[in-house]
Chain length 127, copies 2
């Protein structure tokens, strides 16, 4: 079940995001998908993808012409969990975090209600 603790840098995480979104992509695809003022060089992206491959975060799927395709080998959720846990650790728990979201206007009371509703629905049906 792959309990290896894969750690991603900021840029690596950004690349993973692209892959999670596209499902499968070439280095060129990733480069194109990265939205920046000054886009990174092709080989820069290539290096990141290679490092991700070495870490076991992505894997090659197929080849088209001489271009390799990559796909995520770890789930978005597993990465999120790690990041969220770190943040929770810092701010001191979920409640403070949510409170912060509301205080800073990132989350409204209505949003809270909405989430509640969603969660309840899921609970009833799924699990």
């Amino acid at each position: 079940m792959s309990r290896e603790r894969i750690t991603l840098t900021k840029f690596e995480t950004e690349v993973m995001s692209v892959l999670w979104r596209l499902g499968e992509a070439t280095v060129r695809d990733v480069q194109d998908a990265i939205d920046r003022d000054e886009p990174p060089a092709y080989t820069t992206v290539q290096t990141i993808v290679q490092r991700l491959e070495q870490k076991g975060a992505v894997r090659r799927t197929r080849k088209e012409g001489n271009a390799l395709f990559f796909e995520p080998a770890i789930t978005r959720k597993s990465v999120y969990r790690r990041l969220v846990d770190e943040l929770l650790d810092l701010v001191g728990g979920s409640q403070p975090l949510v409170a912060h979201l509301v205080e800073t206007g990132k989350l409204s009371l209505d949003d809270l209600k909405a989430v509640e509703k969603t969660v309840k629905a899921i609970k009833r049906s799924g699990k």
Copy 2:
């Protein structure tokens, strides 16, 4: 109002946490407050505090004997905001984040209610 974009590393953030908690502290205090298996050397902590000072994140307050005291020069909230914003950017918003918290059992429906109540109370009184 100091719009400089101060960026903190993980360790720097940890040190800031201690300072926010203690309000004011010497390097030795910070070292003692850091909870790890293998605690960092005194001079390691000292280096971090110095870097924080250069970044304008902490400032010297006074001297006792030959030991300097430091205090935070930036707010906890400003740092949290930055980190939270990054995470929100990644996961795609507050609602998904909160949903994730609930899904992974980090936040219960009761917690949600509690936050709601707190927020409402604050709204009524404070702002």
